[in-house]
């Protein structure tokens, strides 16, 4: 069933891709093929392979329970927040929080999670910024 849903999604994607390809503005100085032809071929391959997946689906994958899915969603939200807050909060603080959260959710006890977070953050800061000179996001306190 999962494969069938995936196939339907693939066909919709192929259709949307073809539409977007047809909407490309042609320049008056174009080569013989133009910017649309190859994307249209790709859309056709996407559509045909999706159709094949629908017609001949594989065995059902083992989906995680709802709780684990929520776990993944939460981790993704934390990462997105990390990406957004990185320039504002500065590298060290943001990274300590994000790494600590991931360590905690992977089963560390709270104290160990804090240690992992701070250790990862400071460790990366020292190795990559102080030793190797990579520029990292600066927060209000300069680190």
């Amino acid at each position: 069933m999962s494969d069938r849903i995936f196939g339907v999604f693939g066909i919709l994607l192929a259709f949307a891709y073809a539409m977007a390809a047809l909407a490309i503005e042609e320049s008056f100085l174009s080569d013989a093929v133009g910017p649309k032809a190859f994307p249209l071929i790709l859309a056709a391959i996407l559509g045909l392979s999706s159709l094949a997946i629908i017609l001949k689906p594989d065995a059902e994958p083992r989906w995680p329970a709802l709780g684990r899915l929520a776990e993944i969603a939460a981790a993704v939200i934390v990462m997105i927040a990390y990406a957004q807050l990185l320039p504002e909060a500065g590298f060290v603080i943001a990274t300590a929080f994000a790494a600590g959260y991931l360590a905690w959710r992977l089963g560390s006890r709270p104290l160990e999670a804090v240690a992992t977070g701070v250790g990862t953050s400071v460790g990366i800061y020292v190795i990559f910024h102080l030793v190797l000179g990579l520029s990292l996001a600066r927060g209000p306190w300069g680190f």
């Binding site: 490309i24 042609e26 174009s30 392979s49 995680p64 360590a103 560390s108 990579l134 520029s135």
Partner: protein, 512 residues
């Protein structure tokens, strides 16, 4: 001899203190990454590319660092196969079959050192093979026009699933998706924006490094979160190593096996769509058929350890041949190495050998150096690497995630790229669940633009005639191989895969 002169120049380039230090660092990191379950060669190299790039290393030093990681990971994969019966990466899967029984018999040290020697032999001969075969392939590649190149790219995509692929529809889907993603951005030939939807950040396209790190590294972190697999695989198991050197008689007994499987593995590596996993698989099967008279394979026969280890390391070397000579990688990890070259603004292919001989021969010399370093590291110091297995993933995975973020942020300094990377991470997780291979997506984002421009160039040269694509015997030949390579797995794939799968855990979408 021309080749030896070039090789000498290569050694002159590689033998600087900086390059030696980088090779040493790369070998060490690679072995560690190969040893850790969940961090394979593709992952390991992927995380390090942005770093090598942002650290401002030159082309040759970065290549030396990253190919040392690549060779190192091929060595490292065997450690957890032998000690824990868990392959550290996919090519090391077959090593479990005889390696773990040997360890159970109390011969863990012998198995580790023998497989270290086997890895060395395989990689050593494969590097020689690379030296002699790649220039020959370059001569053929110089005859290629745009139409032939287009056929060659098609061949790479159609055979990438490999003989072990069961669902070619999913491989095709992944390839089209990857190439489709490469189309995003301003069209290089006419200057019109495509699929950008008015977003300025998308005008120069999606950076393939962002895609690679997201698909490989972040999706791995999500998989670990899904299973809440926070402990270390080594906990609660005793890891006795015992003596560190194999008896001479054991080496002697394995020598013919190692020599045969070096050749076989190398060929498997060069052929499109095979790669290191298949190299170790066919090496093991062939040796089992050839020398297993007393039915000892599978119960801890040293030859059953030597065969797959030689095979996968030889294949790793062989896979570099099409990557360097044609610019078309045949496996997941070489696709990642291609990304390294492209990120450094070096286009691999026939012209690389004439325009940047320093890069090519420096790299080859570095492979020899790395190989000797790895042998030295892996036999006496193997105890150190077994300690790595004790690191629990609840500490390792946050570090992997954060280093990935740092690398990508270091390239562009924009939050937008981080968001795209997270998007790729989620997509990678979903696709791995659905058993859609990720390597064609990577290869698509890498090669998509080159493929399209070759198509358009070929047709423009012939005034818009599409039949020009199948106009020369060379391109007809390439198309024929591509079609056979695509259809063959549909017929024989299920059988081969079933055999290989016997020992594989469920999330094997990162196949090499």
């Amino acid at each position: 001899m021309d080749i030896f002169a070039s090789l000498g120049d290569g050694f002159a380039i590689a033998l600087t203190w900086q390059n030696l230090a980088l090779a040493l660092l790369g070998c060490f990191l690679g072995t560690v990454m190969g040893a850790m379950p969940g961090l394979g060669p593709s992952n390991g190299v992927a995380i390090l590319i942005p770093l090598a790039f942002t650290m401002g290393l030159g082309a040759t030093p970065s290549l030396i660092l990253l190919t040392s990681v690549y060779y190192g990971a091929m060595y490292g994969g065997r450690i957890s196969s032998i000690l824990l019966n868990i392959p550290g990466d996919e090519p090391a899967m077959m090593t479990c079959l005889d390696g773990h029984p040997m360890a159970k018999k109390g011969l863990a040290g012998e198995a580790l050192s023998l497989s270290g020697i086997a890895s060395f032999v395989g990689a050593f001969f494969a590097t020689w093979g690379l030296i002699f075969l790649a220039p020959q392939l370059v001569k053929i590649a110089l005859l290629f026009g745009p139409a032939e190149y287009f056929a060659l790219f098609a061949l790479a995509f159609m055979t990438l699933g490999g003989v072990s692929s069961t669902n070619q529809a999913k491989s095709a889907f992944a390839a089209a998706l990857g190439i489709g993603l490469a189309m995003i951005g301003v069209d290089t030939q006419t200057g019109v924006p495509r699929f950008t939807f008015g977003e300025v950040h998308l005008y120069d396209g999606i950076d393939f490094l962002v895609a690679i790190v997201g698909l490989f590294a972040l999706s791995e972190v999500l998989i670990f979160l899904e299973h809440r697999h926070g402990g270390s695989d080594a906990s609660g198991k005793k890891m006795e190593i015992g003596r560190l050197y194999p008896p001479l008689s054991m080496i002697k007994r394995c020598t013919p096996t190692m020599l045969r499987t070096s050749v076989l593995g190398f060929i498997a590596g060069v052929l499109p769509g095979a790669g290191a996993s298949l190299g170790s698989f066919i090496s093991y099967s062939m040796e089992k058929r050839l020398v297993d008279r007393e039915n000892t394979f599978g119960t801890g026969d040293p030859r059953g350890v030597a065969a797959p280890e030689t095979g996968n390391n030889a294949a790793a070397g062989g896979a570099l041949v099409p990557m360097l000579a044609l610019g078309v990688p045949g496996s997941g990890t070489t696709a990642v190495l291609l990304a390294v070259l492209l990120a450094l603004n070096i286009t691999p292919g026939p012209l690389l050998f004439t325009q940047n001989p320093d890069v090519v021969w420096g790299l080859i010399a570095a492979l020899f150096i790395a190989n000797f370093m790895l042998l030295a590291m892996n036999i006496p110091m193997v105890g150190l690497f077994t300690r790595v297995l004790m690191v629990p993933s609840r500490i390792l995975m946050p570090i992997v995630a954060m280093v990935s973020f740092v690398g990508i942020y270091g390239i562009s300094g924009s939050s937008f790229d981080l968001m795209v990377m997270i998007g790729f991470g989620v997509m990678g997780w979903g696709l791995r669940k659905l058993d859609v291979p990720l390597v064609p997506i990577i290869l698509g984002t890498l090669l998509g633009n080159a493929m399209e421009s070759n198509l358009r160039r070929a047709i423009t040269i012939d005034n818009g005639n599409w039949w020009t694509l199948v106009d020369s015997p060379l391109s007809i030949g390439l198309w024929a191989v591509a079609i056979v390579g695509f259809v063959l797995p549909v017929i024989v794939g299920r059988r081969v895969k079933a055999k290989m799968q016997q020992r594989r855990d469920e999330e094997g979408a990162l196949r090499d």
